[in-house]
């Protein structure tokens, strides 16, 4: 597995992106709306490090309570893997607990992602590597 991005919750995605650009990041594309998660999402990169800005679009978004809890802050690491099923089984065998079933992520070109929680390292996302 290789690190793909750091997930970062933000209350105002436009303002956050502007600030990260001032910090040296380049925005990969304009924010897109993820209907399933009711959130706006974009990616920025600097020096080989990618961050994902995630902004709940309404109080009904599953990210809204997380933003309330964490404020504007990084809250997960995403790892890219060649085999999503195998990686899930490996994490589960090591005590990671699944948070959501695998699902397509529009902001990642429809690639499937899965979220796991671990008491020692927090929230981890897996994304299958692009073909």
């Amino acid at each position: 597995m290789t690190l793909h991005h750091v997930g970062y919750l933000v209350a105002d995605i436009g303002a956050a992106a502007e600030e990260f650009i001032l910090l040296g990041f380049s925005q990969e594309w304009e924010p897109i709306y993820d209907e399933a998660r009711d959130a706006r999402i974009c990616f920025l990169q600097t020096g080989g490090t990618r961050i994902e800005l995630i902004c709940p679009a309404s109080p009904a978004s599953p990210y809204a309570p997380l933003l309330k809890k964490f404020k504007n802050a990084p809250y997960h690491l995403c790892f890219e893997t060649d085999g999503l099923e195998e990686a899930q089984a490996e994490l589960f065998s090591r005590g990671y607990v699944p948070v959501r079933p695998p699902e397509a992520a529009p902001a990642l070109g429809g690639r499937r992602v899965a979220f796991f929680m671990h008491g020692g390292v927090g929230l981890i996302e897996l994304v299958e590597r692009a073909c």
């Binding site: 599953p62 997380l66 607990v97 699944p98 948070v99 008491g119």
Partner: protein
């Protein structure tokens, strides 16, 4: 352990985990009914339930849990 005993133990566990002594569980109780029961606390809840009842859920079982009733049924199956 009877199902009513499982429900009573779950209620005690919920009250402690969510620091709310007024929580009253029913089979239909879901995350929407409990303040603070978000996706991250759900994971803490699963781990706590597994320890309390000395059971181990599979990935599919964890992902299929929708309500307290589902959780009680699953615990009863495994104890």
């Amino acid at each position: 352990m009877s199902r009513s005993e499982v429900m009573a133990a779950l209620q005690e566990l919920f009250r402690e985990l969510f620091d709310d002594g007024s929580i009253t569980l029913t089979d239909a109780t879901t995350a929407a009914d409990i303040d603070g029961w978000d996706s991250l606390e759900h994971v803490n809840l699963i781990v706590t339930v597994e320890k309390r009842f000395r059971v181990r859920f599979t990935m599919d079982e964890i992902l299929s849990l929708q309500s307290v009733g589902d959780m009680a049924d699953l615990v009863c199956e495994k104890t």
